[in-house]
């Protein structure tokens, strides 16, 4: 009935259901019975990462995190919520765009070379706990891998198979700035279900036919007006906690007009070019492809791996390395992410998740770098024009030539 109702009314009514927290266990069991592997937040190695979640007991209940440039801590808190934390080092990118895949193989035998493209069926994955900025990041990668002239078949198969249960943030980390990038913290689109966690229940917004269908497997009721109000208050809590911001006004031109800004040198002095920002970024999509043969040279695999514009080898061409210092590599990353991404994909490459800030080993904060790049370069800064002070002396000008007077003194 819920599914039929969604099909009939999805454009007209907002479907808000509520269910008891224990029902989430039944929902997970139902997803498993449909053949899904559920992936969600788990506490591992002192961080909240994404891994297989079979029941509520696997979730980091009662934990919260604190983040700042170059620092991440997770600890037990004074609450019993399942989703009262922000993003950890992992993003969903690893499941849709895996770090290492075999693209093709080649075998040599007596008859010659045989080329094969391994056809691995995409795993049927359900993502639990996807935040608004991560939905935006998936949408960005959709544009990169699906909506251009070259569709990536590996991404496409995985993306089509995935089911998304989003969760609205109710807290914000000190590194979050989704409100600047207009991506959150409220989940707007791109989910099958979006949950808001209240004290004793989840309020669920249905975002797709499939979302409505899976919700039918568990006991739900219409959310009451006070519950809807409480959900709004909790969601507003995240908005109010966001301290960081990035001024995106005309950002494309500001960056591209300042390619020789001296601040690039300043940030290059700090930047390690270690690739961490690009690896944790949920939209960075660079990879390198290499052919790997065994000793005989008769068995070859074409391997695609995550790579980074921060690597010296990444811009190596027949004529040498294009970006041969940290300054040019940091500039490439930031200007691509925030400026030329607009030209290439008609959106920003940044969703404001703040991972690159937290997971930079030396705490480089791109929002501060952008602010610094907006400042006029000190060396070229035009000094303000100082008007001569108004004349306040009304005495008649001296009739005596001062030079003549000095000469007269000298001659004495």
């Amino acid at each position: 009935m819920l599914a039929a109702s969604y099909a009939n009314h999805r454009n007209r009514i907002l479907m808000l259901r509520k269910f008891a927290k224990a029902e989430l266990n039944r929902l997970l069991a139902h997803l498993r019975s449909l053949g899904f592997t559920v992936l969600g937040p788990k506490l591992e190695d002192e961080a909240i990462v994404y891994g297989q979640v079979d029941s509520l007991a696997d979730l980091p209940r009662g934990y919260s995190d604190s983040q700042q440039p170059g620092k991440y801590r997770v600890s037990q808190a004074e609450h019993q919520f399942y989703f009262e934390f922000n993003l950890g080092p992992h993003s969903w990118k690893q499941f849709l765009f895996p770090p290492r895949v075999s693209l093709s193989t080649a075998q040599l035998d007596a008859t010659g070379w045989t080329f094969e493209t391994p056809h691995q069926p995409a795993p049927k994955l359900a993502f639990l706990g996807v935040r608004a900025c991560e939905l935006a990041a998936i949408a960005v990668q959709d544009r990169v891998f699906l909506h251009g002239p070259y569709v990536d078949p590996i991404y496409q198969a995985r993306r089509e198979a995935v089911l998304i249960i989003a969760v609205n943030c109710t807290v914000a980390a000190a590194t979050c700035f989704c409100t600047s990038m207009l991506t959150g913290p409220k989940c707007q689109a791109g989910f099958d279900l979006a949950l808001t966690e209240l004290d004793d229940c989840f309020v669920a917004e249905v975002g797709s036919q499939r979302g409505a269908e899976i919700l039918e497997a568990i006991t739900t009721e219409s959310a009451t007006p006070p519950e809807i109000e409480q959900a709004k208050v909790r969601e507003q809590g995240a908005v109010e906690q966001i301290q960081k911001s990035m001024d995106t006004t005309n950002i494309r031109n500001v960056l591209l007009d300042n390619l020789e800004h001296p601040h690039w040198d300043t940030v290059a002095e700090r930047c390690l070019s270690c690739t961490n920002c690009t690896m944790v970024c949920p939209t960075c999509f660079c990879s390198s492809v290499s052919e790997v043969a065994d000793l005989s040279g008769e068995h070859v695999q074409r391997i695609r791996q995550w790579d980074s514009c921060f690597n010296l080898d990444f811009s190596y061409t027949a004529s040498g390395t294009v970006r041969n210092d940290r300054r040019s590599r940091f500039r490439q990353w930031l200007t691509h992410k925030l400026a030329s991404w607009h030209d290439q994909f008609d959106s920003s490459g940044c969703v404001g998740c703040g991972r690159c800030i937290t997971w930079c080993p030396v705490g480089i904060d791109l929002t501060e770098e952008v602010a610094a790049l907006r400042e006029p370069p000190i060396s070229n800064r035009r000094l303000p024009v100082i008007e001569p002070p108004p004349t306040i002396c009304h005495l008649p000008r001296s009739p005596v030539d001062p030079h003549a007077a000095i000469s007269a003194e000298e001659t004495q």
Binding site: E46, A47, P99, L272, C274, G297, W306, N311
Partner: protein, 264 residues
């Protein structure tokens, strides 16, 4: 090469761990033997043939006057000279003597120091002869060694990445221990090759594979000293298996107020 390339392995001041990696290529040894002829490998066989050699793998650093001459002979006899391991590429752990008093060390360690003839320093092979390729690591990664040999036989450039350990941590999904645990991890300035093993066991990177390409050691060291550790702890971390690697040495010396690197 029309014939099977003749491969020789030479040892200088070292622990033998890197040449052992060649023997550890158990599954690949037979196919390796089809690609190259191993004619001088004392650790594996007492049958040794005289040069010249097509490929020489050189392990160890130069610490004696005798070795300083011997490496010249190896160079003359070898078409392609590949140094393997931290000793051969950066002087190894024994390069710590470069910061100390050689005579004092010899007196403390040996009952009859007059029998000991060593140089004041431990230095990389490339400080003495032209080296065609350096394979890093303490010890080297045997898969990288196979890659280098395969590349040399095929006449192409070996594919050994020069990026940081961090990239490998991220590819395998390891949570960054520098960020989540305040570990003084050298991963961001260290070349990959080990497979990012230590951080996965919650230990900071020791820098076994030496500096990564264009490393910013000063920035990382300044951040660590201001945030989580002291010069006293960080200097020995930089002066480790790759103590004499230029980038690690420069930063270690800069932040060590007592640093007096020895002179040759």
């Amino acid at each position: 090469m029309s014939h099977k390339p003749r491969l020789a392995v030479f040892k200088f001041a070292s622990c033998d761990g890197c040449q052992l990696q060649l023997l550890s290529c158990e599954d690949e040894l037979l196919s390796l033997a089809e690609s190259v002829e191993i004619v001088h490998f004392i650790e594996a066989s007492s049958h040794v043939e005289a040069g010249p050699y097509d490929i020489a793998l050189v392990e160890g650093s130069i610490t004696t006057a005798h070795d300083r001459q011997r490496i010249q002979v190896v160079r003359e006899q070898s078409q392609t000279l590949v140094t393997i391991g931290a000793c051969a590429t950066a002087g190894g752990i024994q390069a710590l003597k470069n910061w100390g008093d050689r005579a004092d060390y010899v007196r403390s360690v040996y009952a009859q120091p007059e029998y000991i003839q060593t140089l004041a320093t431990s230095t990389a092979i490339a400080d003495h002869v032209r080296v065609d390729f350096e394979l890093r690591g303490c010890p080297i990664n045997r898969f990288q060694l196979l890659e280098v040999l395969q590349a040399l036989v095929a006449g192409r450039k070996p594919r050994t990445p020069t990026h940081s350990v961090c990239l490998d941590c991220k590819r395998r999904g390891t949570v960054c221990i520098a960020i989540a645990r305040d570990a003084a991890c050298l991963g961001p300035i260290t070349q990959a090759g080990c497979g990012a093993i230590c951080p996965d066991f919650q230990r900071g990177c020791y820098g076994c594979f030496g500096p990564s390409a264009q490393p910013n050691c000063d920035s990382l060291a300044d951040w660590y000293v201001q945030d989580r550790t002291t010069h006293v702890q960080l200097v020995p971390l930089l002066r480790n298996f790759n103590a004499d690697a230029e980038a690690f040495k420069a930063t270690g010396d800069r932040i060590d107020p007592h640093s007096e690197p020895g002179t040759v």
